[in-house]
């Protein structure tokens, strides 16, 4: 990358950033923890111009809005880990943030970058799927929202238009909902996941699981939900018998591959085991 260093434009107002995007082509950069690596590894053709988002304070901040948790796209993993609002409202998001890279990466990497980079291994993305998160996008043409479940249509693709930015991630209020998160990598820090999973549900008065969400990363071309596993768990108590049944359903939902980090067989076995352990913890068996 030292041979081809693009110029960067660093707007301080969102409207300016929109104007640059509309003029295009220009490549946005947030904290750089993916883009700078891709440029160094030469897996990405260096763009002619880069739109540096780092000074757009309008994209920072964590707030509550009518019961929803709203996280600005430029919010770093460190900010998520330390946010009293996140720890109170959606602690699983802080938990996921803590598994990402190590302190140097957490100080730069952003939730929005994770979403837009659209890696199937994006560590926070199953949390967004398991919580029915809504992505708020903006550009010169106005703002719109896309459900997380619709945001990653294919490998490394997003629903974002070239002239749009991700502004915020909205986590809708869900009283009584539980969410669990697990990441398996080579080691605890600095590892890209072999398997990452988030499971959400709302226990009813009898302890049956309602509104079940099973979301995984590194198990297919995109971060994805596992609809057969969800259907198997819906309305059920977290029993040992159920755990056996859901393992088969989950396996049908997934399409893992062999790659440098793991094998398809390992990923299938471990994802089933993760889900079983979550059910075991909740069922107390």
């Amino acid at each position: 990358m030292r041979d081809a260093e693009p110029e960067a434009i660093s707007p301080t107002r969102l409207a300016e950033a929109y104007a640059w995007l509309a003029e295009g082509p220009i490549r946005p950069i947030a904290g750089g923890t993916d883009l700078m690596v891709a440029l160094a590894a030469e897996t990405l053709e260096p763009p002619e111009r880069v739109l540096d988002l780092w000074r757009l304070d309008e994209l920072r901040g964590i707030s509550e809005d009518g019961g929803d948790l709203v996280v600005g796209a430029l919010t770093t993993w460190t900010e998520l880990r330390r946010s009293a609002v996140v720890l109170a409202r959606l602690p699983v998001l802080a938990e996921a943030a803590a598994t990402i890279g190590a302190v140097q990466i957490q100080n730069r990497g952003t939730l929005g970058g994770n979403v837009v980079n659209a890696s199937p291994a994006g560590d926070a993305l199953p949390v967004l799927l398991a919580t029915d998160a809504i992505l708020e996008l903006g550009g010169l043409r106005g703002e719109r929202t896309v459900a997380a479940a619709d945001f990653w249509p294919a490998y490394r693709r997003t629903a974002l238009a070239p002239d749009e930015l991700l502004l915020r991630v909205r986590f809708p209020s869900a009283p009584g909902r539980e969410v669990r998160y697990r990441k398996v990598g080579t080691r605890r820090a600095q590892a890209i996941s072999k398997v990452v999973m988030a499971v959400g549900w709302r226990p009813d008065a009898e302890g049956r699981w309602r509104d079940v969400r099973v979301a995984v990363g590194s198990m297919g071309p995109t971060p994805m939900r596992a609809p057969r596993a969800e259907a198997t768990l819906e309305g059920q108590l977290p029993t040992e018998i159920l755990a056996d049944r859901v393992a088969g359903a989950l396996s049908e939902d997934l399409s893992p591959i062999d790659d440098v980090r793991s094998t398809a067989a390992y990923r299938r076995a471990v994802s089933a085991r993760i889900l079983m352990r979550i059910l075991r913890e909740e069922g107390g068996w």
Partner: protein, 158 residues
């Protein structure tokens, strides 16, 4: 294009280079501050850790446009005066927390930030603070001892 202005170890600098130039190259090649090491060049090893406004980052992943107006500190800025080492640097000497030395500047900067943030002698906390810094010589034990010793000696390492 206008030059990028910021401070390095307290001194104002002005860098007339493309905005996507890596902070690492600016420090080493433009400013001659070769204490900051390049290991992997892709954010995995932590050898190029520096502080930007007190926060540890890997200089290989930070474009220079993103440090405009910031206060960058490198290993050259750790010693409080010429010929005087910081508490943390002294602790590394005392415990033998360095072998080949390539990870040492990054380790020092990560540890400095940890101590400045109020970090103490707890081994798990120290391990987490340096989890982004690889060392292939020491087995980490003496590095961890050094950081704990500096924490024990009380003053943040400046």
């Amino acid at each position: 294009m206008s030059a990028h202005r910021f401070r390095v170890n307290g001194e104002p600098v002005s860098i007339d280079r493309p905005g996507m130039r890596r902070l690492l190259d600016v420090l080493r090649d433009d400013l001659g501050l070769t204490g900051t090491k390049e290991g992997c060049g892709e954010g995995e090893c932590g050898a190029c850790t520096v502080l930007v406004d007190g926060v540890p980052v890997v200089a290989c992943l930070v474009p220079v446009c993103q440090v405009v107006g910031a206060d960058v500190r490198t290993v050259e800025g750790l010693a409080p005066a010429p010929g005087v080492l910081s508490t943390l640097q002294q602790a590394f000497l005392k415990t033998g927390g360095a072998q080949c030395g390539i990870c040492t500047p990054g380790m020092l900067m990560a540890a400095d930030a940890y101590l400045a943030d109020g970090g103490g002698t707890d081994e798990d906390a120290i391990r987490e603070a340096i989890a982004g810094n690889l060392c292939r010589c020491t087995g980490y034990t003496r590095i961890i001892e050094a950081i704990a010793l500096a924490a024990e000696r009380g003053e943040a390492a400046r």
